[in-house]
């Protein structure tokens, strides 16, 4: 029954032996109900958007029912085609793919150097990297954009890819993981005359699959959701990502609210799929990292 499962509980304040008191029993039921309420609040808005995408504009504006009259997938297909979401998806995929490669390669190598090779001055470099955790990322955006414009990289994916390669939080995640690897491997490899690069490719990377996975997942969601820099760099170039397109709905006039609702759904589908597949890695990564990804 409901209370039986509490026998195995070892975390938190309430234990199985507390349940002989009716007050505590009542409290556990209340807590369970509160959790259900939180769950509904967390999920309801997305649920509403997904079902409202099936409504037509009259139905959305005039009726007060939550569910649509009919579930006709063609309404979604029409918005997809009218607003060429295929193109924006492709742009987003290009931007995400390059971003993930850069995120793994650059953050991984710097963490490898800081954690294992430790050349002279590595402490200074690490301090600088840690400082960038404290530097609010948006305060440099104006100067960054001016720089990108000066070297003529607007309208290119390159700055977006590379920007993923300078993330202090991911460097810290990598570094912590590398430091936990057994040192004997590296000492043995160095004795055998293994070069630093080969050690990275042949020894460190094969051992680091879990952390590569976590950072890759973070990088995918970050690159997909990233908005301000893509908006500034890609606007008007024909390479706009899904997020940029979505933001442009704000000012464009040739759409209805239901189109916007469907566009929101399109923008949420890929991260939802990633999340559905990798939810374990994501939730554990969050808990272990201690900082929002």
């Amino acid at each position: 029954m409901f209370f039986k499962k509490y026998r195995k509980k070892t975390e938190g304040a309430i234990r199985f032996y507390d349940l002989h008191s009716p007050g505590t029993r009542f409290a556990t039921v209340l807590i369970f109900l509160a959790a259900v309420v939180f769950l509904v609040i967390a999920l309801f808005p997305m649920f509403w958007v997904a079902v409202s995408g099936f409504k037509d504009i009259q139905e959305l504006r005039l009726t007060t029912s939550i569910l649509p009259k009919s579930f006709d997938i063609n309404s979604y297909v029409k918005t997809w085609n009218d607003f060429k979401f295929g193109k924006y998806y492709l742009n987003s995929f290009i931007s995400v793919a390059g971003g993930v490669v850069c995120a793994l390669l650059f953050n991984g190598t710097i963490a490898y150097v800081l954690a294992i090779l430790k050349p002279r001055g590595h402490k200074v470099v690490f301090a600088l990297v840690m400082w960038s955790l404290l530097i609010p990322p948006t305060t440099g955006i104006v100067a960054l954009f001016v720089n990108i414009k000066r070297i003529g990289l607007t309208g290119s994916f390159l700055p977006l890819w590379l920007s993923m390669g300078a993330n202090a939080f991911w460097v810290v995640l990598f570094k912590q993981f590398f430091e936990g690897l057994p040192r004997e491997y590296f000492e043995a490899a160095q004795l055998d005359g293994c070069s630093d690069w080969r050690m990275f490719w042949n020894i460190v990377l094969p051992l680091s699959k879990p952390i590569l996975m976590v950072v890759a997942i973070f990088a995918v969601t970050a690159a997909w959701s990233d908005f301000l820099l893509p908006y500034l760099v890609l606007s008007g170039s024909g390479k706009e990502t899904v997020m940029v397109r979505l933001f442009n709905f704000r000012t464009a006039i040739k759409h209805t609210d239901v189109d916007l609702i469907r566009a929101i759904v399109f923008s949420v589908i890929p991260p939802t799929i990633i999340f559905a597949i990798f939810q374990k890695q994501i939730t554990q990564g969050i808990a272990a990292g201690g900082i929002k990804g």
């Binding site: 509980k9 999920l43 009726t63 710097i110 609010p136 300078a166 929101i264």
Partner: protein, 276 residues
């Protein structure tokens, strides 16, 4: 390592210095003209939107301390006590976090539609409550925007707290029960102190991130009604990317950076004292 360092330099460190340089010049587009000393800073202070934006930013922080800070702690404390469908609850409350920022705020724009067919008004209607104005009510704008941010962020923060709670030594609870402490007393005297230091860290991170709030007011209200929700970062955005006045935007960025630096230092002082 060198390429990665260059990236950090280009994307993180150099823009910071460049902001300072940029803020001291007159410029036409991205072309620097002549040295302007602190004229841009004076312009920033004289701008009629500056003080409302400062006031609002602190209001955002105030509300995020009231809502955004406590809600994850409450969720985490409650979910720790739940034993059924653990995985479902954890995944479910984390879900809003994977919704991209822009999509999330546009979504809540629909929730907060005024008039009878706004989603929240429909729900209130079932309870027999009249339709509300939501975001167009200047007194509610900021708290509601903070609520939206909390909806998005609370799940992941709650997971961090839950990890913190499960790392508390279970023997403490056993010992307390033997001494006759009731569950709620155990929560007050063991769980809460156990996540105190985690809470301090997350608090400062939260203040730093709320200070830079941009998308939410930009998309949901565009700073309105009548500047009631404009934030400092939004002002930076406006100067740089609507007026193309990069030096003025840079000057304001530098000011934000300074304020955040001071806040961080205050935080380190305070926690150091508390630890002594």
């Amino acid at each position: 390592m060198l390429p990665a360092l260059i990236l950090f330099a280009f994307f993180v460190w150099e823009p910071l210095l460049e902001s300072v340089r940029l803020s001291m010049y007159h410029a036409k587009g991205v072309q620097l003209l002549d040295f302007a000393w602190f004229e841009n800073y004076a312009d920033v202070f004289r701008h009629p939107d500056f003080w409302p934006a400062i006031r609002n930013t602190f209001l955002y922080i105030f509300w995020s301390l009231i809502l955004g800070f406590w809600i994850p702690i409450i969720i985490a404390s409650l979910l720790t006590e739940v034993v059924h469908f653990k995985g479902l609850f954890r995944t479910g409350i984390y879900f809003p976090n994977i919704v991209p920022g822009i999509s999330g705020v546009m979504l809540w724009g629909f929730m907060f539609r005024p008039g009878k067919t706004g989603v929240l008004n429909i729900l209130l209607g079932h309870l027999g409550i009249d339709p509300q104005l939501w975001l167009t009510n200047p007194h509610l704008t900021i708290p509601l925007i903070v609520l939206t941010m909390t909806w998005k962020a609370a799940g992941s923060t709650a997971l961090v707290y839950m990890a913190g709670i499960s790392s508390i030594n279970p023997e403490l609870y056993e010992a307390a029960s033997i001494d006759g402490a009731k569950p709620f007393q155990r929560f007050l005297h063991i769980t809460l102190p156990g996540i105190l230091s985690l809470g301090k860290m997350l608090l400062i991170l939260q203040i730093i991130s709320v200070f830079q709030i941009l998308y939410e007011p930009l998309v949901m209200t565009n700073g309105g009604p009548n500047n009631a929700s404009i934030s400092i970062m939004q002002l930076v955005y406006k100067y740089a990317f609507e007026d193309f006045n990069y030096p003025m935007a840079a000057a304001l960025s530098v000011l934000i950076c300074l304020i955040l630096g001071v806040l961080t230092m205050v935080y380190f002082r305070v926690t150091k004292k508390a630890d002594d």
